[in-house]
């Protein structure tokens, strides 16, 4: 129960009563804050988390060696399993870089087939035994075992297993090409021997098979049996600098995309204009929200003009009346902020699902940071500013004007 003997208690009591009395206007105000704030927050959050999640989704590799071409295309194809392959490298190139001092790990990958649109990626099974896709985290099996390097066996990423309903022992025939097309099915039959646990990285969207499987797949070019699509690299110390010099500046056979994070950062930087557009949209929405709140508060307070006059006549000071208006606005703003968080979570959940389905990258939307709290507090302050104008107007208005004499 609110203590009405305290001024703050009285102000909140009257603010709550006012909110209930003018429920429609108050809810519209809170809804506009929720919508504007939620859209604003989710825009900021998604773009920020996308960058972080994409950086973290590089699967623990420092670099990618591939055919001569774009570094970004190489990374997208080899690590994010998107985009087309820029070409192939010879098996010797793979053997050479594997033995280069400073190269901690080197795993060849071969792409070129799919199963209902999900890529088959051929690699060395050692990847699943030794490689840490995140610091201290190796791939874990949900069920089954890792494929043998010489058998037609498949290890299925968690997202694919869920989407296609693949189980241990299931047999399937891959389709040719990176995109699913009817009538392109290979004759080779693969058996699912293992299901991977989710990692929140693009590897969840892949069906992993032995590299020999892709190389020797029926119908593939003979040259493919002696080539790889790319080599995934983990490097020691400053080995990246010497390798970059060797491959990118002096050589003309291959491209080294290193460091992965810097290449991605440069990509996101190039996309800065898009972020700018989104920010302008979200600020515009925020401004419209503010105007709606100010307008709602003004009309709501106009409706309450008589109430304020009554309060004054029974002995309320101007400051209490002003406090009631600000309290009312505060309640609307707080409800609006809670709504904004819900809107942000809803938009985030939908976006998370879309990005996960498209890229396999799981963006984090629940981790609130200090600047998110700052944005939420700012929304409350901005919402209250919307009511401040009405509060000052009521504060300055003459009591007698609102009390028409009856005789």
């Amino acid at each position: 129960m609110i203590n009405l003997n305290s001024r703050i208690g009285l102000i909140f009591f009257l603010a709550i009563k006012g909110f209930r009395q003018h429920m429609f206007g108050s809810v519209v105000g809170a809804f506009s804050i929720a919508l504007a704030g939620g859209l604003f927050l989710s825009t900021l959050k998604i773009q920020e988390q996308s960058q972080t999640s994409f950086n973290n989704a590089s699967g623990g590799f420092d670099g990618v060696l591939g055919a001569r071409g774009s570094k970004l295309q190489l990374i997208l194809n080899a690590l994010f399993h998107m985009d087309s392959s820029p070409g192939n490298l010879s098996w010797e190139q793979y053997e050479l870089i594997k033995k280069t001092p400073g190269v901690k790990e080197a795993y060849p990958i071969a792409v070129g087939d799919n199963y209902f649109g999900y890529r088959l990626v051929g690699t060395d099974p050692e990847l699943f035994y030794k490689h840490e896709w995140k610091k201290g985290r190796k791939y874990n099996l949900n069920k089954g075992r890792i494929f043998s390097a010489t058998a037609k066996e498949a290890l299925v990423g968690s997202f694919v297993a869920k989407k296609l309903g693949l189980k241990i022992g299931d047999r399937f025939q891959p389709y040719h090409g990176l995109n699913f097309k009817e009538g392109t099915q290979h004759k080779d039959v693969y058996v699912v021997v293992g299901l991977l646990e989710a990692t929140g990285t693009p590897s969840d969207k892949v069906i992993w098979v032995p590299i020999k499987g892709i190389q020797m797949m029926e119908g593939h070019d003979q040259a493919m049996s002696q080539s790889v699509s790319a080599v995934l690299l983990s490097l020691r110390g400053a080995a990246g600098f010497s390798l970059e010099m060797k491959y990118n500046k002096q050589g003309n056979q291959a491209t080294l995309a290193w460091p992965v994070v810097a290449t991605l950062a440069s990509f996101f930087q190039k996309m800065g204009w898009f972020r700018g557009v989104l920010e302008v949209i979200s600020y515009s929405i925020g401004l419209i929200g503010l105007l709606m709140v100010a307008s709602t508060m003004r009309s709501s307070m106009h409706e309450r003009k008589r109430d304020f006059a009554i309060l004054r006549i029974i002995g309320s000071s101007r400051a209490v009346v002003m406090g009631v208006i600000l309290g009312h606005t505060f309640i609307i703003s707080m409800i609006g902020v809670c709504g904004a968080v819900l809107v942000m979570l809803a938009i985030g959940a939908v976006t998370q699902k879309i990005i996960l389905e498209e890229t396999g990258v799981l963006i984090e939307i629940m981790n609130f940071q200090q600047h998110d709290i700052f944005v939420l507090v700012s929304i409350v302050v901005v919402g209250m500013l919307g009511g401040l104008w009405s509060a000052i107007h009521v504060y300055r208005s003459d009591l007698a004007k609102n009390l028409q004499p009856v005789s």
């Binding site: 009563k17 006012g18 309060l311 004054r312 002995g315 000071s317 101007r318 504060y395 004499p405 009856v406």
Partner: protein
């Protein structure tokens, strides 16, 4: 040419924004000063609360005018001498628009007079600051209105509690007793819109009594009631004021109501007649 017009508009807009910002900063500054003064004033008013002295309400040379369109002023209140003893009851009758309500608003400190003095107990209302007058209304003056002026978002009980809160003395038990006294205890949780006119009038009366006022002002208290309810209501008002030793000043244009008072005066005579309680 178009550019020139655009520049002119931009300058005009900047000028308007500048003035709005100045206005806002002055407003906020003024409010902060007033809030500071108010907290000082409240300390003062507690030591100058109304006492039931011999001549309880004393009004001298009170004048209030409103400007006319022609540039002249129209005096709606012009009272040379007006006194009431503690606990007395007086009715003022007169036609609508004569200035009776303005007279009550002047006494309650809702509006300030052009000249003159209004003394209630040992409080000189005309020299009090606005926050002091607010507090005086909360502590010592009850006001019953023709249109009741109840807070529409608050229940009957809440209307009384809010009035008590203005005086810093919220007492739920007493609020319920007052509602019981005016005969609507069972309606304590009803909103004004859920009450009949008569019931709203009773809530208004209970609210006016909630802070044990020493002066009760009633502006056409029965104006919205039918004849039977009006009679009951005025008797209730009179008896409650009598029980609480509260001075009652009623203004009405209804002859039937006026006739129920032992002492009454016509609004036209109020300017010239002194010592109405005699």
């Amino acid at each position: 040419m178009l550019n020139f017009i655009g520049i002119c508009r931009a300058i005009s807009l900047c000028h308007k924004i500048y003035h709005k910002v100045i206005f806002l900063s002055i407003s906020i500054r003024g409010i902060l000063i007033q809030i500071r003064e108010q907290s000082k004033d409240e300390d003062v008013i507690k030591s100058t609360a109304i006492d039931n002295t011999k001549s309880f309400l004393e009004i001298k040379d009170l004048r209030k005018s409103y400007p006319l369109g022609t540039g002249n002023s129209h005096f709606v209140v012009d009272v040379k001498n007006f006194t009431l003893d503690p606990g007395s009851q007086l009715a003022i009758h007169g036609p609508s628009g004569a200035g009776k309500s303005t007279f009550l608003n002047l006494i309650a400190g809702i509006i300030k007079p052009d000249t003159g003095s209004i003394r209630i107990g040992n409080l000189e209302m005309t020299t009090l600051s606005e926050p002091e007058r607010d507090l005086a209304r909360a502590q010592d003056i009850g006001y019953v209105f023709q249109s009741f002026h109840l807070l529409q978002g608050c229940s009957a009980l809440d209307n009384l509690l809010v009035a008590m809160a203005m005086n810093g003395k919220v007492d739920r038990k007493r609020a319920r007793e007052l509602l019981s006294l005016v005969g609507i205890k069972e309606k304590e949780n009803s909103l004004p819109s859920e009450l009949s006119i008569g019931q709203q009038q009773r809530v208004c009366l209970a609210r006016a009594l909630s802070n044990n006022p020493k002066l009760m002002l009633a502006d056409e208290p029965t104006g919205n009631l039918d004849s039977a309810n009006a009679s009951r209501s005025i008797e209730l008002l009179r008896s409650l004021c009598e029980q609480n030793n509260c001075t009652l000043l009623v203004v009405s244009h209804d002859e039937k109501i006026i006739n129920r008072f032992e002492k009454s005066v016509d609004w036209k005579e109020i300017s010239d007649v002194n010592n109405l309680n005699d």
